[in-house]
């Protein structure tokens, strides 16, 4: 299917080249390959963006997605029969392909790097940069630094949304004093138990010490894992996990509860109408794990506030992830599409406004995009939080994904599980164990 489109595009290209003899790009074709399925909500939304581009320029851009993206793209790169633009689900793919010399630098595509940086923050640009040459274009991002809560329950009891850590702790103490549990926390995940605690640690790291500076040093192992800054973050996390009655079900529940059912107590009311918990820190994908009855209320009955600020002198940081795209040639049509996707501040409009109802909730990393255009209230909140962080260059990717696998998917996870079970006295041991396992 993809082959035939590609072949067709080559044929069309040849015909057009012969007919027009250069000049106009009208009718040229650009093939884009990515992970979101062609027929899925995200794939259709990407195609909507391309359709706008086609209307403006006459260049025909086609999106093709595959569930087996990772393996198929490897085959394409090996064989040299590549699409014009590739959307990788994470920056690692761009770096890998660039190191193998298979990608076109952004400057060859006519991209002004200063303009790119101004829109997407130097951090995102750096993620797609190899040996000082930028290859990757930032695209959609997601946000992990959010806490789910139910506005109605907060209003009924006169609780305010906590903006700082101290306010959150004060609110938690008040909830405990009223005989309830403030937090939902479950970190059991087959083969990956502990990642939720690492996310908490990362969020705290971004908001304490030197903020993003310390965070980057931590990720790159420029400070040891048992550095006082990391220890402080572990202590903040331990405060949530180990203060009696903070987490519904106690320490046993933290370790034994599957992350997917962790928030369920929030939807379970007791005899007095009190929910099992009031706050749950988890990325937006958790909605898919909620009880079916609760899912339609996402964004209204159950919605989010940004992870509280700890050190107010630091910029408002955000933790998340995102995809990245790169070009394999410097054809004029490819460059035109690349520039449109990266630098046109209105390119994201069809995705945000959910044109034709494809149902994609992707959020752009372009800070110039008007976040009030997002169709759903919750996406607007997420988009605004991401924008605020990006404009201060304080958006960071998940540290455990960036660390070596032995740590990021090994000891960091397992020692956080140990920490949850063994209590605050174990912090030093946990951090030294992780430090010793760094390759």
């Amino acid at each position: 299917m993809r082959k035939s489109i590609f072949g067709l595009s080559l044929l069309a290209l040849a015909l057009i080249a012969a007919a027009c003899g250069g000049g106009s790009l009208e009718g040229e074709e650009v093939l884009v390959f990515g992970a979101p399925a062609t027929d899925g909500p995200d794939g259709k939304a990407i195609q909507e963006v391309f359709d706008d581009f086609t209307e403006e320029t006459g260049i025909i851009a086609t999106y093709v997605g595959s569930e087996n993206f990772e393996s198929e793209v490897q085959v394409q790169l090996e064989s040299g029969d590549v699409p014009d633009i590739i959307y990788w689900p994470q920056p690692g793919g761009v770096v890998d392909a660039a190191e193998r010399g298979l990608l076109t630098p952004l400057t060859d595509l006519g991209i002004d790097l200063d303009e790119y940086e101004a829109r997407y923050s130097p951090y995102l640009v750096s993620l797609g940069t190899v040996d000082g040459v930028a290859y990757g274009g930032a695209n959609a991002v997601n946000l992990k630094s959010i806490v789910w809560y139910q506005p109605a329950e907060f209003e009924k009891r006169g609780y305010e949304i906590p903006e700082t850590w101290d306010e959150m702790i004060a609110l938690a103490d008040q909830i405990v004093a009223e005989g309830m549990n403030p937090f939902c926390f479950g970190m059991y995940s087959n083969g990956a138990t502990g990642w939720l605690a690492t996310d908490w640690m990362e969020d705290v790291m971004l908001r304490t010490g030197g903020g993003t500076t310390t965070y980057d040093q931590w990720v790159n192992h420029e400070i040891p894992f048992n550095d006082p800054a990391v220890k402080l973050a572990a202590e903040y996390l331990s405060q949530i996990m180990h203060t009696p009655d903070y987490v519904v079900g106690g320490v046993d529940a933290i370790v034994s509860t599957a992350f997917g059912s962790a928030q369920d107590p929030m939807f379970e009311k007791d005899a007095n109408g009190n929910p099992g918990c009031f706050m749950h820190r988890q990325a937006s994908f958790i909605v898919g794990y909620w009880p079916e009855a609760a899912q339609p209320g996402a964004g209204t009955e159950t919605t989010v506030f940004p992870f509280p600020v700890i050190d107010p002198s630091l910029p408002k940081a955000a933790l998340g992830g995102g995809d990245m795209f790169a070009a394999t040639n410097d054809r004029e049509a490819t460059a035109a599409l690349f520039q449109y996707l990266l630098l046109d501040d209105e390119a994201w409009t069809p995705v945000a406004t959910n044109r034709n109802g494809h149902g994609s909730t992707r959020i752009t990393a372009n800070v110039n995009f008007d976040t009030s255009l997002y169709e759903l209230e919750i996406t607007r909140v997420l988009g605004a939080t991401i924008n605020a962080a990006l404009s201060e260059n304080a958006f960071r990717f998940d540290a455990s994904d960036l660390m070596p696998v032995e740590v990021g998917q090994g000891t960091f996870w397992s020692e956080m599980t140990e920490l949850a079970t063994n209590g605050p006295g174990y912090i030093d041991t946990a951090l030294s164990n992780i430090e010793n396992s760094w390759p």
């Binding site: 046993d252 034994s256 369920d264 107590p265 099992g276 599980t417």
Partner: protein, 349 residues
Amino acid sequence: MNKLINFAPERYHEGLYGAMFVGPAIFLLGLFLLYPAIRTIYLSFFDKRGNNFIGLENYVWSFSDRLMLITIRNQIIWLVGVVTLVILFGLVVGYISDRLKRGEAFFKSVIFMPMAISAVGSSAIFKFIYEYRPPPLTQIGLINGIRVGIGNDVNGNECGNNVILNDGSKLDYVNDGCLRPIGWIQQRDLTNLPSFENISSGDFFLNLFVNFPINTVLLMLVMVWMFTGFAMVVFSAAIKAIPTEITEAGQIDGASEGKIFMSIVIPYLKTTILVVATYMTVSVLKAFDIIYVTTRGDFETNLLAVKMLDEFAKFLNQGRSAAVAVIIFISVIPIIILNLIRNRSEAKS
């Protein structure tokens, strides 16, 4: 081929015909069994990408890394536990069902049924039995569902698994006095179980007892449950082959049931027991699905086969993965030798 061989001198014909038949099999065995085995041993002396020779470092890691040592400990618990329990239950059930006057076929097919369920299916069943939900929620796991419904709370109200009564009131288990649910496959020791809660420090044996890895044993039981039927069928066939004259003679001489079982049945089944033990040992060393489906190796429940995959696919370390594979391979060797000795002594007698 025939024509080709006919070109060769007459005296080579027989050998060439033999080679023609055996050759392809030997070639395929070499390609798919011998070569990978040798290659794995070779790779186990190299680093994570297989580029640099690092000697025995991967084996040093295998016997010094904390999680790897726990994996080896679990493998030993499984080996001893599964083999013993499967043989024990298989023998008892096989012997008793043989004594039944009616319903033997029905009884045996019920016990055998788990054998017909795939390991993944069985693991999923047991995952539901051990399932845990955080407290205010209705417990969907069998054990926790029963557990939280027992007894009364401090106010004298009945505990219940969020049962809605006819008058619309709900019996829950959140108040003090009701039993709390336990995440069974997450418990690495006994400290969360009733009557062990307050034991934290004591003498060496008490500590050893409290640190008993309950989750590993609970997961091991899945395999016991699956293979008891297999052992029972094999044993009951062997029991039926025992000549009735001998047992009758024993009865006439006044031997008790227990005496007959220990002195007649067991000696007769010695070979069968060894066969079942061999089969079970190899199965346990290969055991993978149960851990993969239930905990995926978390909470110190890992087994060598899953560890081998993790090192390869998750930590991208070919060398360590190969070393684990070699350890599994070496553990099978004593059993093969034991079987060879037995075969030889049987051939002699």
